[in-house]
């Protein structure tokens, strides 16, 4: 799997496999012993845990969607639910808390996956999301954690994407050509060639 540090955006058109790619990177780090925090804005916390159930890994979920559908949904040992995708403070608070609890338990390596930033941008204006990212990305850097943010191509204004790219340490671009999928990693220090990948069930094959 790809090696990266800091805050990285996964960027590509819808239905191209960004979520599965992100989940595979997330999973590979969990298997290396990382602590994990999965922020979900599209699926319920239970759906996310269900996807990973065959892999024997533990991680925490910040569920931004359940309470908008079922206001009575309660937290569980692994799932904390914030009020809605608009509740950026709730997301920020629980991200910090989980980082803190991993840190205090002696686990210094943590990976965070925000699935997806595009949903937050649908609910809230870009300026507000930038302010949220300013706080969150700073915390990620301070704790030397790694974070992935999924962003849909052609869904946001070009200047929004440009601003987001400036806030992150790198971008994993995903594209499809002639029925084949490719990815490449771009950061200030490296730019890989386009690498072909395919998806077999839940697994990304590079």
């Amino acid at each position: 799997m790809l090696e990266f540090d800091g805050n990285v955006m996964i960027y590509g058109l819808p239905l191209i496999g960004k979520t599965i790619l992100a989940r595979n990177i997330f999973l590979s780090k969990l298997k290396e012993g990382y602590g994990g925090v999965y922020i979900t804005t599209n699926d319920t916390g239970e759906d996310v845990l269900d996807w990973f159930k065959d892999f024997d890994v533990n991680f925490k979920v910040i569920d931004c969607i359940s309470k908008t559908i079922y206001p009575d949904s309660a937290d569980t040992e692994f799932i904390k639910r914030v009020a809605s995708p608009i509740d950026l403070t709730g997301i920020s608070v629980w991200t910090s808390r989980f980082l803190d609890s991993y840190f205090r338990s002696g686990k210094r390596d943590v990976i965070i996956l925000l699935d997806s930033l595009s949903t937050l941008l649908m609910y809230t204006n870009p300026q507000t999301v930038y302010r949220f990212l300013h706080v969150v990305t700073r915390r990620i850097r301070a704790t030397k954690a790694k974070a992935l943010y999924i962003v849909q191509k052609d869904m946001h204004e070009e200047r929004t994407i440009t601003t987001l790219k400036h806030m992150f340490d790198g971008v994993i671009e995903v594209k499809e050509e002639s029925d084949k999928r490719f990815l490449r990693f771009i950061s200030s220090t490296q730019k890989t060639d386009w690498i072909e990948f395919s998806i077999d069930g839940k697994t990304v094959v590079i």
């Binding site: 309470k67 908008t68 206001p71 009575d72 009020a83 809605s84 608009i86 509740d87 950026l88 403070t89 709730g90 920020s92 608070v93 991200t95 910090s96 808390r97 980082l99 803190d100 840190f103 205090r104 002696g106 609910y123 809230t124 204006n125 300026q127 507000t128 302010r131 949220f132 300013h134 706080v135 915390r139 301070a142 704790t143």
Partner: protein, 383 residues
């Protein structure tokens, strides 16, 4: 009225017509403060309205319930400025159909101010995010109306990195500002709230560390600072020098269990624990380090042979990433090494403060405490 917060309630009463703002660090759970204030005044019989902008009314009710607060009473209502965002209808007494329409939002907030003793806005920052800076002009009107109507307006403002002028306007319009913050050091080591401004009475600012308890809400607690270092470096002397009251558990003149002192300093109420220096007590260090907020390492500047032991004690107590400062003690003795020489010999990073002290004469001890508090507060979202 009272705000329902430990310590702050002993310092201030909120007269009718005033505006109180909770200025909240984005990484700290701040809505509980607003809820606790609302709950306190509902309980005291005041007519209260809770304005929600980022959670559904049912989620608001569940949040109150989580903390053990009963709001199913006649004198409590909700202004629902959330459901409209997600296209839901609302059964609440006050409802804003289009929360991004600043005029509709403002008119409804004004209605609540006119009809209630206390209006709690959760949050002003979400309103700014949704409607833009125009909200601030309306906020001015709400403040005036609260004053005319003898209502109290309590506002939550999340300290996202807004333009400085927005922050200043909010603070200037508020009669009292209470900061709710986190002590940041890689992760958040602790949370505090403090009185930053009150314009109707002369009261000294006070900061309190807190924990959230379910049920119960905001509970103040006293932070712990650990004083550690090798045998005979002067830990007990240091603890006694900075503390208003201190005790040591001694045998044959050296500490065999713990020193404990208490100091009120810079608005904080701090418990100071001195650890024993002997290696056989090292298991205690790990336990104490896990609960502490910061560490003061005392070294005997005349005994470089004790530095490896000092380094080991530091590693034991700071393994959770706690911030620390070093007191270079016994600086009045011949052959005392300078702080920079100690930094070199102990291979300490350049950003670790090393303060020269003579603990038995009280020299430099408060500078050490200052350095540690500054380090703890460095990452706070103060503006």
């Amino acid at each position: 009225m009272k705000l329902g917060l430990p310590i702050i309630d002993e310092l201030i009463d909120v007269p009718a017509g005033k505006v109180v703002t909770y200025y909240v660090d984005p990484e700290v759970e701040g809505d509980v403060f607003l809820m606790q204030t609302t709950q306190k005044n509902v309980e005291d019989g005041y007519k209260c309205c809770f304005v929600t902008t980022s959670m559904s009314p049912m989620t608001v009710r569940n949040r109150f319930k989580e903390f053990g607060w009963d709001i199913n009473v006649e004198n409590f209502s909700i202004l629902d400025a959330y459901s409209g965002i997600v296209g839901d209808i609302s059964n609440e007494k006050y409802f804003v159909r289009d929360p991004s329409n600043v005029e509709e939002l403002s008119d409804t907030v004004k209605m609540t101010i006119a009809e209630n003793d206390l209006v709690a806005i959760c949050s002003l920052s979400t309103m700014i995010d949704l409607c833009g800076e125009d909200v601030l002009e309306h906020f001015k009107e709400w403040c005036k109306l609260a004053s005319l109507n003898d209502s109290v307006l309590v506002v939550q403002f999340i300290a996202w990195p807004y333009d400085e002028k927005i922050v200043e306007i909010v603070k200037d319009l508020s009669n009292a500002v209470i900061t709710v913050g986190g002590i940041h050091h890689r992760v958040i080591l602790g949370q505090y709230y403090g009185l930053l401004k009150v314009d109707w009475t002369d009261v000294k600012g006070k900061s309190v560390l807190f924990k959230l308890v379910k049920p119960g809400g905001v509970r103040a607690y006293i932070p712990k600072i650990l004083v550690t270092g090798p045998y005979n470096a002067g830990k007990s002397t240091f603890v006694h020098a900075i503390s208003e009251r201190a005790i040591s558990v001694d045998r044959l003149g050296t500490t065999v269990a713990l020193d404990h002192g208490h100091v009120e300093y810079r608005g904080f109420s701090i418990d100071v624990f001195g650890t024993p220096g002997q290696e056989r007590f090292d298991p205690i260090l790990k336990v104490l380090g896990g609960e502490a907020l910061g560490v003061i390492l005392i070294v005997d500047s005349t005994k470089p042979e004790s530095f490896p032991r000092a380094k080991k004690m530091l590693e034991e107590t700071t393994r959770f990433g706690l911030p620390y400062v070093v007191a270079a003690n016994k600086q009045d003795l011949p052959n005392a090494l300078s702080p920079e020489e100690i930094r070199k010999r102990m291979n300490l990073p350049d950003d670790v403060p090393i303060i020269p002290t003579v603990a038995n004469k009280g020299i430099g001890v408060y500078e050490v405490l200052d350095a540690l508090i500054d380090l703890l507060m460095r990452w706070s979202y103060e503006h």
